[in-house]
Amino acid sequence: MLVIKDLVASIEGLKILKGVSLEVKAGEVHAIMGPNGSGKSTLASILAGRDLFSVDSGSIMYNGENLLDKSPEERAKEGLFLGFQYPIEIPGVSMVNFMKTAINEMRKHRGEKPLSASEFLKKMREKKELVEIDSSLTNRSVNEGFSGGEKKKNEIFQMAMLEPKLAILDETDSGLDIDALKVVARGVNNLKSPDSATIVITHYQRLLDYIVPDFVHILYRGRIVRSGGKELAVLLEEKGYELIRQGEVNL
């Protein structure tokens, strides 16, 4: 589904990713962990198509096509979803209008008719229940005045609405209490199917109690320094990142 090869990327001449390779197959859940500043969000942004970063070398293939050739909206229409670490507030754009526009653009792309007003509202209601998002939030402007936790839930809500094939969640768990964490996990697990995949970027092992990853990768200073099964997350939790740092020095 997703094949990243030797990705080198920089911002303003500063190298952030220094050769990242990763393969994600349909049906899999991958976790990317690593200390702050490792380049996790950079990788996620590049996958979603943010042009702030320049890709210096390497390649990203998505469903056999060059992902880097595509605009952010094309990627989204082809099923890629990024849950932002820092969701953007957009005053004046209502959640309802935002979601309706997004869903109908995607439907158009798939050759489907736009949802009727009642179909749309029904879908909104269902997904709101699933992610236990406060009903009044969807009557407001996108993320405007939302608390940190509400913004994260709103990302999961949008993911549930858009039903992506490849979801990349960038620290959606940060700053959430256990209940909210379970909501995030439910959103992800609900979407799980043999033809979809998820990449969860996280700082903490605790999310992985609810979303069980098939693979865990540790990104450190722009490189994946270790990959393994879910036991790697446990090891990391026990020994801390310090171990990785020491390990990396010895590499």
Binding site: A48, P72, E73, K77, I88, A102, E105
Partner: protein, 455 residues
């Protein structure tokens, strides 16, 4: 040619025009309006036309819009329009009382002045001056006369008619009065109408003015609006400017507010080749509140210029200016917001903000806050921004599958909506939302293709 020579020649041109046609002008107007002409002509001679680069008209090239060889008509309208076409207003939610101005003259649909349901009296200003001389004498030219702008004197010298709207003491009318101001002619034409809106003590009214051009000729309008808001009165005034690129519009609005009055004025400039709006507000009684907002959407070579002057002449008053605009292509514009707080106007609250989005490198906007504060216990703030659309917001929208163009439109619309939401007539708010949306999408290409559907 030097500026002085040009200024003189344009002024002379109109002084001569007045001399030649004074009889015709007066004969087709009303005695009370005529009594102001001689003084206004003298004043025009003294003041001359505004010169580009002067303090009030830094960027607006007034002379260039007057240069065109435009017909001036002082008699009856020569165009024949079908009243049913014009008055056919099929906007379902916008239930208004309609009045029509054609080329600056009141369109007589059988009654020159009438009492509208709810108790508002409205109609031709010239006719009102015959029927209600006391009211007109008290207010006509009372607020505009002090102006140092030669264009205001020009209007007073030549204006023959316009709209008169009067809401008596204590009368509160929910249903808006809609003035449709149409330019339509077989020749390039200049018109100068004059409106007078009066809200007596503790009354309430809502007025919507729509400026349209209905034929492709070059038009120039130089109009004056006087608005009197008596003690405790509440007035909402919305102006929608939607003329074609070959049209130039200069408006001068003088609002006089007494104690505890509230006036909220929105100017929505959707389209027009050259627009200059002068807005003068005098807060003449304590606890008066003024809300002046504007939205402008300009593209191609359009020029948009808003000049706002709020005079806090009494203590404890509130004013807020919010002007926002989107400029595309090589459009240009200017905003000047003046706040004058006089020595005795203690506990004044006065705010101003002007935010602009420039979509191209060629679009230009100048923003000048001017604060003159002579009282010491005041709260004043101003802010101005020039920028592009927020890239991170744009990316967020696009990352959800909304294409680039649509994402930009959503953001521009959100930007504009902040102004629109100040319009206190819900149905009108929706209408304007719709118009702005169409305008931003480029679907409002014909000026008369307006969702107001009045013409």
């Amino acid at each position: 040619m030097s500026t002085i020579a040009e200024k003189k020649s344009l002024t002379d041109q109109f002084l001569n025009l007045y001399r030649d046609r004074a009889d015709e002008i007066s004969a087709n107007s009303a005695p009370l309006l005529n009594t102001h002409r001689d003084f206004a002509v003298k004043r025009l001679g003294q003041l001359g036309f505004p010169v580009k680069g002067s303090e009030e008209y830094r960027y607006a090239d007034i002379e260039s819009v007057f240069r065109n060889d435009l017909e001036k008509q002082f008699g009856e309208n020569k165009v024949s329009i079908d009243i049913r076409d014009i008055f056919h207003c099929d906007v379902p939610d916008l239930d208004t009382n309609l009045l029509l101005l054609v080329n600056g003259r009141y369109y007589n649909d059988g009654q020159l002045i009438k009492e509208l349901p709810g108790g508002i009296i409205a109609g031709s200003l010239a006719e009102a001056s015959r029927k209600y001389p006391d009211i007109i004498e008290k207010h006509y030219n009372n607020y505009a006369i002090g102006s140092k702008d030669g264009l205001v004197a020009l209007n007073t010298a030549f204006a023959q008619d316009g709209i008169f709207i009067y809401v008596p003491k204590g009368v509160k009318v929910e249903k808006p009065v809609q003035v449709v101001n149409i330019m339509i002619s077989d020749n390039d034409l200049m018109a100068q109408h004059r409106n007078l809106f009066i809200a007596e003590k503790d009354s309430e009214m809502k007025i919507v003015v729509c400026d349209h051009s209905l034929s492709a000729q070059r038009f120039l309008t130089n109009s004056v609006n006087e608005v009197y808001t008596a003690e405790g009165a509440q007035v909402s005034l919305t102006r929608i400017q939607n003329e074609h690129n070959g049209s130039a519009q200069i408006t001068h609005s003088f609002s006089h507010q007494e104690t505890r009055s509230r006036l909220s004025a929105s100017t929505i400039s959707l389209h027009g080749g050259f627009i200059r709006n002068n807005l003068f507000v005098t807060l003449n009684g304590e606890h008066a509140e003024n809300q002046s907002t504007g939205l402008y959407l300009s593209d191609k070579g359009q020029y948009i210029d808003n000049f706002v002057h709020i005079d806090h002449a009494s203590a404890n008053c509130f004013s807020n200016q919010l002007y926002k605009g989107v400029l595309d292509d090589y459009a240009s514009g200017s905003f000047t917001g003046r706040i004058l707080v006089r020595r005795d106007a203690q506990k004044t609250n006065a705010y101003q903000s002007n935010n602009n989005i420039l979509l191209t490198d060629d679009a230009k906007m100048y923003s000048h806050p001017q604060l003159e504060i002579y009282a010491d216990d005041v709260k004043c703030s101003h802010g101005s921004t020039m920028g592009q659309l927020d890239e991170s917001a744009l990316f967020y929208l696009r990352s959800r599958g909304i294409n680039h163009r649509e994402s930009r439109l959503l953001l521009m619309f959100a930007f504009a909506h902040e102004v629109i939401q100040n319009i206190k007539v819900p149905a009108l708010q929706e209408r304007i939302d719709d118009l702005v949306n169409k305008r931003l999408r480029g679907e409002l290409s014909r000026c008369n293709n307006c969702a107001m559907q009045c013409g």
